[in-house]
């Protein structure tokens, strides 16, 4: 800007005055000499107008953030850091049986149902399962074939299907036939495939060859016993961003928690199996979480046969009563890592009649809950903002007016440093670190709100010329609480800055 712009105003002003004088003045020599007196222009503009809330301070504005605020009815805040939700569907636990070929070598052929040895299927409702028949004969006449599966039933009737091999046909392949809705009931885990082939005159014959092919055996519902197994839920970790800007100082929470929540729609017993549970601190050290939950594991609730379609939930938590979390979080935890498996039928009790259906799933989620109730000792946090002051190239001096108020029942010392492109400190916004006293509290320890504090900082020409090199501002706060205190959702730091900037034109 600027100067060129203001010179344009000056030139236009001179032009107009000269024009007036041209018509009115007899002494033209003066006209040509008209100049504009140099003057100082001072502009007042607002720069920053923010009330920094807890939400801002925990970096929750990022859409990818894994943190949420839980605010109780009294307004007290708990930070909840969430890991990814891990979920297992029915197909991952009870996988479909791929293409199966069953030769039918006689008019009645018995095959084993292809389940694992330690599994017992009492009842299985076919889902999207299709079969086809391949038949060969050399009689040259039309042949009527009745195909049946006695163990496959619906409404009390066994499965039966009639096929016609046209006259003169030696090799016949049927269309795909669906078994969906038919139930396989076989106490001895066997299936009988029968056929009855007759000529037009009723004479029964044997086919030269007959084969049944099933594309994939899929059950919508299975009842029985599914055996012992361990499902790998996969490890994961939860990032605790609260201390991303930590520099130094201590922070302790009264009751940090790791909450584990399980949903189970499968009708069989599942037990937790903790492989690892650790925390990582700001210094990069890793510590094991110690708890009897890890040693003894937890049985997850599950629906019984009378509760098919229902979802049972189980939750448990690591806290200050059953773990060393309080001590671990004093080390300023930045990450909680875990690796949990699910143990199916851990007691191998075959007397349990289990089930799974097509909508069954198993879900586990892990949250770290940090109730903001604790003590802060000389905790220093800092963050940077990009700021280019080179655009104020015509400002000769300025006066910053800062208005601040601290709602927190904690003393906060505040400073903003101007950094150049090498991150070297050029100057600071306040001559000395600005101390915002702890807000006064009521009998319950809740803040009554901060009082506004106004500060003026003057930058003369030489000082302002220096901070024009600014490329970043380093915001630094130092926090102290005298005793454990709760943080409420309406707490914040009011931070307003305006500037009067002077330039000569």
């Amino acid at each position: 800007m600027n100067l060129k712009f203001m010179k344009r105003i000056n030139a236009l002003t001179i032009f107009c005055l000269a024009l007036m004088q041209f018509y009115a003045c007899s002494d033209y020599s003066k006209i040509g000499d008209v100049e504009l007196e140099e003057r100082d222009v001072e502009l007042a503009v607002p720069l920053i107008n923010t009330k920094l809330t807890v939400n801002d301070l925990i970096n929750n504005t990022d859409g990818d953030s894994n943190v949420a605020l839980n605010i109780d009815e009294d307004g007290r805040i708990t930070l909840v850091y969430s890991g990814d939700v891990l979920q297992k569907q029915k197909e991952e636990i009870f996988q479909a049986i791929p293409l199966a070929i069953f030769p039918i070598t006689d008019t009645a052929t018995v095959h084993d149902v292809p389940f694992s040895n330690d599994q017992r299927v009492d009842k299985a409702l076919f889902g999207n399962t299709n079969y086809g028949l391949s038949m060969s004969t050399n009689v040259g006449e039309e042949v009527t074939v009745t195909f049946s599966i006695p163990e496959c039933k619906k409404d009390g009737q066994s499965y039966s299907k009639e096929f016609v091999i046209p006259e003169g046909t030696s090799d016949f392949i049927s269309d795909k036939i669906s078994l969906k809705g038919w139930t396989l009931e076989s106490a001895d885990q066997e299936i009988t495939l029968k056929y009855d082939a007759r000529l037009p005159d009723g004479t029964r014959i044997e086919l030269n060859q007959m084969v049944m092919a099933i594309d994939a055996i899929i059950f919508d519902y299975v009842e029985g016993y599914f055996g012992y197994d361990i499902f790998d839920i996969n490890g994961d970790f939860i990032t605790i961003g609260l201390l991303d800007t930590w520099v130094s100082g201590g922070l302790s929470f009264e009751s940090p928690k790791v909450e584990i929540y399980v949903e189970n729609a499968f009708g069989f017993p599942v037990r937790s199996k903790f492989n690892t549970m650790t925390v990582t601190t700001v210094t990069g050290e890793t510590f094991d979480v110690q708890s009897n939950i890890i040693d003894e594991n937890i049985d997850f609730d599950y629906p019984d046969l009378t509760e098919v379609g229902e979802v049972k939930s189980t939750s448990f938590q690591f806290d200050n009563t059953n773990s060393n979390l309080v001590e671990l979080f004093e080390e300023k935890v930045t990450r909680v890592s875990y690796d949990i498996d699910a143990e199916i039928n851990p007691d191998m009790d075959t007397s349990i009649i289990e089930f799974l259906d097509s909508s069954g799933y198993f879900l586990i989620s892990v949250d770290v809950e940090l109730p903001l109730n604790g003590t802060v000792n000389d905790l220093k946090l800092q963050d940077t903002l990009d700021l280019d002051l080179s655009e104020f190239d015509e400002v000769t001096s300025s006066e910053f007016k800062s208005i601040l108020a601290n709602d927190f029942p904690a003393e906060i010392a505040l400073q903003a440093y101007f950094l150049d492109d090498q991150n070297t400190t050029i100057d600071s916004l306040f001559d000395n670190r600005l101390i915002l006293p702890s807000a006064s509290t009521d009998a319950n320890g809740k803040s009554l709100g901060g009082e506004e504090q106004t500060e003026f900082t003057t930058f003369d020409e030489s000082r302002f010329n220096e901070i024009k090199k600014t490329k970043r501002v380093l915001m630094q706060v130092k926090i102290n609480t005298p005793s454990p205190t709760w943080i409420y959702s309406d707490y914040g730091i009011l931070f307003k800055v305006g500037a009067k900037m002077k330039t000569s034109i």
Binding site: Y23, C25, A44, P46, D56, G498, K502
Partner: protein, 437 residues
């Protein structure tokens, strides 16, 4: 971060166009110069002399009710004039008007036929008016910092138009009564006019939050190009041929009558420039109707992204103008003249003329009293006292000489401005040539 330029642009933008406009008004003296064709510029019925007339005329005028040059400048020890903002503001009214007018008759031709007297001619005309507030001048001079906690009224007003005029005139005398009319085709070249001009800036005493309250609406044709508040251009031109005959058509009429009461007294009345122009080339309306604040940047928005902390865009948005294509019509500033002359002796005449000029609420009135003497049959000189609104110090002079069929004249309504130019609040000159056969 913002540039100072943005802020200043935002605060002073519209006054520049006022300073850059060509601003003129009108000289009344030729009305009293006998036997010149240019009398018909004031009343088409006064075109009564000669069988053939050729004429050309240049007239320019500027006046203000604001400070004079002396009231905005200081003289330095070495005799230079320096514009002093402090001096200017001390002498400024709360609201200050500047009027202006140009009238260039490139050529007029008139012939007396047996039936009527016919005239054709071409002229370039431009007129402008602007009003600026003392608040605006203060803001430009000192910035807004001295006015923290105050609301400044900074919306300037404008009314500028320029056009080409082609006319056909007829005049007929019926004994002592003479009547005349001019029928004009107009080709507009530039228009720039505020319809509403509310523009208030409040600077809070907290952290200097800016609040803008606007109801601003400006019409433009071939004049204003606006991209954003930091990128605009205003170009109004009194002598624009580029935009002539490219739309912007208009029509106007002049009507007049004169009556010879006796061989000494003549009375006349006329209404001139009764018409309008329809603007349809590059014609836009720029408007802002907001009550909006800029409170500063919420820095929490910047904690989790890589964006640079910036306030420039917000300041720009504070005073955006919306552009819309429109056709619009502007009336010409019409003129009403009522006057008379009385021949006291064979060489001395006196006269009076009432002039009302303008349109809508921008009408100005003046009264001119004249005395003219003829010396040796070829030289006329005259003096005139003009009372304008709030301005009683206008003493005019003219001189007119004749060589054969050619008569030339030069005149000003305010000779005082030449004697004390620094204190002048109006200045004008009109000069013309007339060949009369």
């Amino acid at each position: 971060m913002t540039k100072l330029s943005t802020i200043l642009y935002t605060l002073v933008i519209l006054v520049i166009s006022g300073l850059g406009s060509n601003l003129y008004a009108q000289n009344l003296q030729p009305f009293f110069i006998k036997d010149v064709f240019q009398q018909s510029y004031y009343n088409p019925a006064l075109n009564t002399k000669g069988n053939i007339n050729l004429a050309t005329t240049l007239g320019v005028d500027i006046s203000t009710n604001g400070p004079s040059l002396a009231e905005i400048t200081n003289e330095t020890n070495d005799g230079k004039l320096v514009i002093s903002a402090e001096t200017a503001l001390d002498n400024m009214n709360d609201y200050n008007d500047i009027y202006g007018y140009t009238n260039i008759h490139t050529l007029d031709f008139s012939i007396n036929t047996p039936l009527v007297r016919l005239t054709v001619g071409h002229a370039l005309k431009a007129s402008g008016w602007t009003q600026y507030s003392k608040n605006l001048a203060e803001l430009i001079t000192y910035g807004n910092a001295p006015y923290v906690g105050q609301t400044l009224d900074i919306g300037p007003k404008f009314d500028f138009l320029s056009y080409h005029e082609f006319y056909l005139g007829v005049q007929k005398s019926f004994g002592p009564l003479s009547v005349g009319a001019n029928f004009k085709y107009l080709s507009g070249t530039n228009a720039f006019k505020t319809e509403s001009s509310k523009l208030e800036l409040t600077t809070s005493d907290d952290i200097y939050q800016l609040h803008v309250n606007t109801d601003y609406r400006v019409l433009s044709s071939n004049s204003f190009v606006f991209e954003d508040i930091t990128n605009f251009d205003l170009n109004v031109d009194n002598y624009d041929f580029n935009n002539a005959f490219n739309g912007n058509n208009g029509f106007a009429i002049d009507l007049g009558a004169a009556f010879e009461v006796n061989d000494k007294l003549q009375l006349s009345a006329s209404i001139m420039d009764l018409g309008s122009i329809n603007w349809n080339t590059e014609s836009y309306v720029y408007s802002s109707n907001i009550s909006k604040s800029y409170e500063g940047v919420d820095i929490s928005d910047y904690f989790n992204n890589e964006e640079e902390f910036a306030i420039e865009d917000s300041l720009k948005n504070l005073l955006e103008l919306e552009e819309e294509d429109v056709e619009f019509s502007t009336s010409l500033p019409s003129h009403i003249y009522i006057g008379g002359t009385y021949q006291l002796t064979s060489s001395l005449a006196v006269g009076a003329l009432i002039h009302s000029r303008g349109s809508g609420d921008q009408r100005t009135n003046s009264l001119a009293l004249n005395a003219t003497t003829t010396i040796g049959g070829w030289l006329s000189v005259g003096g005139m006292y003009v009372i304008k609104e709030n301005n009683f110090s206008n003493l005019g002079l003219f001189a007119s000489g004749k060589i054969g069929p050619v008569r030339g004249f030069i005149s000003t309504d305010n000779v005082v401005s030449y004697l004390s130019p620094e204190n002048a609040k109006s200045a004008n000159i009109i000069a013309g040539l007339n060949i009369q056969i």
